[in-house]
């Protein structure tokens, strides 16, 4: 393909100093995210997936490597220069409780991105906020409420509305449903899926849950010890894992189906 990918990451390294010395959570990660695609980044805790997300969002400067949005390099930019690219890439956080300012009303929270980038006249901003609330399934007359009046799932809807109102090309979702109950998790995943075709946004979906990703993502990148060890279509990775780490993970995932044998890691004979 000769088309420039929406997001191109090449040989990205992140390292930083902690009390006990240098740590190196991301060790040479490369991938492309195409327009309209959902790419899932899957790994266990400490594999570097969250640091990678922070680097992409400009919250943590990478120590080496390149990040390009439609061919524009953003890896070395300072925060002021980065601001120009902000509307193109937004994010949804894991914790629905700490990711919204508790003292702002919902309509303010959703409108703020437009205020910051001074898009549209005030009247148009209001209209778009209402439209966005409708799209994510929040009753329009709840705009005057504060975040603490909402459940976890509803707060995550507010977070999604806030991230998508700038009409970004890329939405980075960092474990957006792992703090939610199963039934609510399904609501949010379905919502994200519907919004994707509606708004033409591409997802980089960071998760520890391969079963969830398998239903939702087009492509999966398995991350292990700071590197991507395997990529492929989601179904392919699930059915035919290539890397030892992927196999070990799949062997340990309990599928809620009693008619199949227990996954190998659950069998007592394995001892």
């Amino acid at each position: 393909m000769s088309m420039t990918p929406l997001l191109r990451v090449r040989d990205l390294h992140c390292s930083f100093r902690v009390n006990s010395g240098m740590i190196h959570p991301v060790r040479g990660v490369s991938f492309d995210l195409q327009r309209g695609e959902t790419l899932a980044l899957v790994g266990e805790s400490g594999c570097g997936k969250t640091t990678l997300a922070r680097a992409l969002l400009g919250l943590q400067p990478p120590s080496a490597g390149s990040i390009q949005i439609e061919g524009n390099e953003i890896a070395g930019l300072n925060r002021v220069d980065l601001r120009r690219f902000r509307p193109q890439m937004q994010c949804v956080f894991q914790d629905p409780f700490s990711s919204l300012n508790p003292r702002k009303r919902v309509e303010t929270l959703i409108r703020e991105p437009l205020d910051v980038h001074q898009k549209f006249a005030p009247e148009e901003r209001r209209r778009r906020v209402h439209l966005m609330m409708e799209k994510v399934g929040l009753p329009a007359d709840w705009g005057r409420r504060f975040p603490h009046e909402f459940s976890g799932g509803q707060r995550q809807r507010i977070g999604i509305a806030r991230a998508l109102i700038l009409q970004p090309d890329i939405l980075i979702c960092d474990e957006p449903v792992s703090a939610l109950d199963v039934s609510v998790q399904a609501q949010i995943i379905n919502l994200l899926y519907d919004l994707k075709s509606d708004l033409g946004v591409s997802y980089l979906f960071i998760s520890h849950d391969l079963t969830l990703v398998e239903t939702f993502a087009d492509r999966v990148a398995m991350m292990f010890e700071g590197q991507i060890v395997e990529t492929g279509p989601a179904r392919e990775v699930w059915c035919n894992p290539q890397h030892a780490f992927t196999r070990r993970m799949i062997d340990a995932i309990p599928v809620p189906d009693v008619t199949r044998p227990a996954p190998p890691a659950f069998r007592l004979e394995a001892d």
Partner: protein, 284 residues
């Protein structure tokens, strides 16, 4: 819903102390406001015979001091100075302390190191000594007393604000604001500060009480403005008559005690009211 009912009950149980504090404080404020109406003469004017006990002389309900000055007038006019100095000095300290604390806590790194070393420098000098030195250098006037007390009050505020900012800065919503491309100043003062202010509010009331006490101590030692009467001046001037006319220093002393107590009660009440840990506690 349960939370709200709980909160209401608990607040009612605790808040009678806060109401008492507010009542006392508004009493002091009323005294300050009505001083010139009730006592058109200067509190330094002689209105009757000296050393009249409270109730002894008709023109002075609270008696007169060694020079025949009305103690009640002194108390009323003194209330003005106490409140003015207390609130003005803490207001100045707030502006400065919040700025320093916000920058140190938000940016961290060397900004934090430099600003906090400066703050510690001020904190290591005993507060009262520092206040005396500042007044001694600038000269004794109300304005300079306010400056001196602001100089000794701001480090505590700066440290508190820095701590709050360091914690809140790590919250996901602040990270979200950075990703949105919000400017640092906007994040600091629109997004973080309103969430950090409750602790500062509580501390301010206590600092006002401390400032009022310190102002009295300065006046007592003769570092106050000689043109105005304050509770501290009254105590200072009355100490010669401690044995025979103890009421001269007891009355302004009581006024001081009640004002400081009122501020502490209000501070306590505010703490319960604003403390997110108490407020957020929900059942289930």
């Amino acid at each position: 819903m349960t939370g709200r009912v709980f909160r209401g009950l608990r607040a009612a149980g605790r808040n009678w102390t806060m109401s008492l504090g507010l009542l006392l404080l508004s009493g002091v404020a009323l005294m300050a406001l009505t001083a010139s109406l009730l006592f058109p003469l200067s509190p330094y004017d002689m209105i009757g015979p000296p050393l009249q006990w409270p109730g002894q002389f008709d023109g002075a309900v609270l008696g007169t001091d060694a020079l025949g000055r009305d103690i009640a007038a002194g108390i009323f006019y003194g209330a003005r100075i106490s409140l003015l100095v207390g609130f003005a000095s803490v207001a100045c300290a707030l502006v400065f302390g919040v700025l320093i604390g916000a920058f140190a806590g938000y940016y961290g790194g060397w900004v934090d190191t430099v600003l906090m070393r400066v703050t510690e420098l001020f904190q290591t000098i005993p507060q009262f000594m520092l206040a005396i030195v500042v007044v001694a250098i600038l000269g004794a006037s109300i304005g300079n007393t306010i400056v001196a007390l602001a100089v000794v009050s701001w480090p505590a505020i700066a440290r508190l604000v820095r701590g709050e900012f360091m914690v809140i800065r790590q919250r996901a919503y602040v990270q979200g604001c950075i990703v949105l491309g919000m400017s640092d100043l906007r994040i600091m003062f629109v997004q973080i500060l309103p969430n950090a202010i409750s602790g500062v509010t509580v501390m301010s009331t206590i600092l006002i009480a401390t400032a009022i006490l310190m102002e009295s101590a300065l006046s007592f030692l003769g570092f106050g403005d000689p043109n105005v009467i304050t509770w501290g001046t009254m105590i200072g001037m009355g100490r010669g008559n401690l044995r025979d006319a103890w009421y001269i220093i007891t009355i302004p002393g009581l006024a001081l005690l009640l004002t400081a107590l009122a501020l502490n009660l209000v501070g306590d009440g505010l703490n319960d009211l604003l403390n997110p840990r108490l407020r957020k506690r929900k059942a289930g």
